[in-house]
């Protein structure tokens, strides 16, 4: 990364709470800089605070102490003036977070209708394009309750891509998937990161959480982990292969 490039995401001496108890510190991050185009994999065992960490990065609650900046702006962003910056960040919770009373198509159309004021036809076309990308074009009229778990997550990523985000946060995208689905997700995320997807030619910075680091080997990802209430930087796959850290080895 060139010295003059600014990080898209920056944490400095940040104490982080949880969604249910935003004031109670569960994690501490000394410093973390994420640059444009990077692909970070944040590992951690169940209960290590991965979901809350990503919700925090998604701007759902403020840090207890310290600083969190996204594109140079202090997070969380709640004022309308800075909303365009906020919309460059998308977060996908583990279960997809689809709105139960809307159909799949309406869920994906929602960001376009709400933020861009698109007409129904335009929003529908955009949504179908995104659903096609994730292999769910035929699910448009279905309600989220009719979908399988992995389908809900596919629809969720289609919805998250609707506004062309620069940074995408995904909570445990591979959890509970069979090998075929796992490969599909790894391939899609890599193409999005490389700017090779059908819907976006610009590179998307990705941060994903995981309970197992092994599916993420080899491709140039960067790794970090959450352990004992602390955010730890690990480095690339070679660093993982050579480490004697038992916390990392458990996740392999």
């Amino acid at each position: 990364m060139s010295a003059d490039s600014k990080p898209v995401l920056k944490l400095q001496r940040t104490a982080i709470g949880s969604l249910l108890e935003p004031e109670r510190v569960i994690l501490y991050c000394d410093e973390w800089l994420v640059y444009k185009g990077e692909f970070w994999v944040v590992g951690g065992l169940s209960g290590s605070g991965k979901s809350d960490f990503l919700r925090f990065l998604g701007g759902l609650f403020p840090p207890v102490t310290g600083k969190y900046e996204f594109l140079g702006e202090l997070m969380p962003i709640i004022d309308d003036r800075r909303l365009p910056i906020r919309l460059k960040l998308a977060f996908i919770p583990e279960d997809g977070g689809l709105l139960a009373r809307f159909t799949v198509l309406e869920n994906v159309m929602l960001p376009c209708r709400y933020h861009l004021g698109m007409s129904e036809i335009k929003a529908k076309n955009r949504a179908m394009e995104l659903l096609d990308l994730v292999g769910c074009a035929s699910l448009g009229p279905a309600f989220p309750r009719h979908l399988r778990f992995e389908q809900r997550r596919r629809v969720a990523i289609a919805r998250a891509l609707a506004l062309d985000p620069e940074v995408l946060l995904i909570d445990c995208p591979l959890r509970g998937l069979d090998p075929v689905q796992t490969q599909w997700w790894l391939h899609l995320l890599w193409r999005l990161n490389q700017g090779q997807s059908k819907v976006s030619t610009s590179s998307i910075t990705l941060i994903v959480s995981t309970t197992s680091l092994s599916p993420w080997g080899k491709k140039g990802y960067k790794f970090a982990m959450l352990e004992e209430g602390k955010f730890k930087l690990i480095g690339d796959w070679d660093s993982i292969a050579g480490t004697s850290d038992t916390g990392v080895q458990v996740l392999l």
Partner: protein, 278 residues
């Protein structure tokens, strides 16, 4: 000071001393009122500031709410109007006629049906049919993480969830009140007619029209709109304001209905001051 479900509450395990128990509950009512008023002010501010924002997405939700809390309740209100018309108006007309006090008919109808029963019964019916559904819908959405999902999409949950209900319920309670009152007066006369009461329609409706003043229109209109706002604010507050677990949905639903009823009756009583001051 204790926190229950993230709310400030004064709790006591021993209720032996009545004054202390009363004091605790008075303080808790104060806390609840403060939170509800804050939520109402935030919601109304969002309504005013974002009136023209994201109409493509919020407009259909307002229409949907109007259908759900207005149009779909019209058959129920016809039934209620027929029953109230029989129970209250039919009997009142019958008794006033027997004692030769038909001259007071207009005043009695205006006070009983138009000023009081109309707005209160309309609000209660909307609360039970739509308000409870609102709390369940919103608290379930909250428990399932839909609110966080909306926030992560940069969508203000107050704007998306609360504003359509606020507008829809205020307009629905207003419209249903007018509809209900007209229907009650009609059914009241119909019941009197079937009892062979010697009262001509012109005389009946003429007396009511004569007893109605501009203040009645103003008060009834305002009351109905405010009742709709109260139902929306209290039910949305309990459904949305704090993170919830699924098992808390019945608890917040019961609490929302109880607080709505209290708030409706307090505001109804406050409107009496308008006539007393006058």
């Amino acid at each position: 000071m204790w926190h229950v479900n993230g709310e400030e509450r004064v709790c006591g395990l021993h209720f032996g001393k009545l004054p202390q128990w009363i004091g605790r509950n008075v303080i808790n009512v104060g806390y609840s009122t403060r939170r509800l008023v804050s939520f109402a002010l935030i919601s109304l501010t969002v309504l005013l500031l974002k009136w023209r924002v994201a109409r493509a997405a919020v407009g259909p939700l307002v229409r949907e709410q109007l259908i759900k809390s207005g149009v779909k309740l019209m058959p129920l209100f016809i039934f209620l109007a027929a029953v109230i018309g029989l129970v209250v108006v039919g009997q009142t007309i019958s008794w006033l006629t027997r004692v030769g006090a038909q001259g007071y008919l207009g005043s009695v109808m205006v006070v009983v049906v138009i000023r009081e029963l109309g707005p209160v019964i309309s609000a209660w019916a909307v609360l039970t049919r739509v308000g409870t559904a609102n709390v369940v819908e919103l608290s379930t959405a909250r428990a399932l993480g839909e609110v966080e999902a909306l926030e992560s999409l940069g969508i203000d949950p107050i704007h998306f969830f609360v504003v359509p209900k606020l507008v829809g319920l205020a307009l629905s309670v207003f419209s249903l009140t007018v509809y209900f009152e007209a229907a009650v007066l009609f059914f009241g006369y119909a019941w009197a007619f079937f009892q062979d009461i010697p009262l001509m329609p012109g005389e009946y409706f003429g007396q009511i029209a004569a007893a109605l003043g501009w203040l009645d229109f103003l008060v009834v209109g305002l009351k109905a709109l405010i009742f709709g706002v109260i139902i929306a604010v209290v039910t949305c507050y309990h459904g949305l304001a704090r993170p919830l677990q699924l098992e808390q949905v019945p608890v917040v639903t019961v609490r929302a209905v109880g607080q709505s009823i209290v708030a409706l009756m307090v505001v109804d009583a406050l409107f009496l001051l308008v006539y007393l001051i006058r």
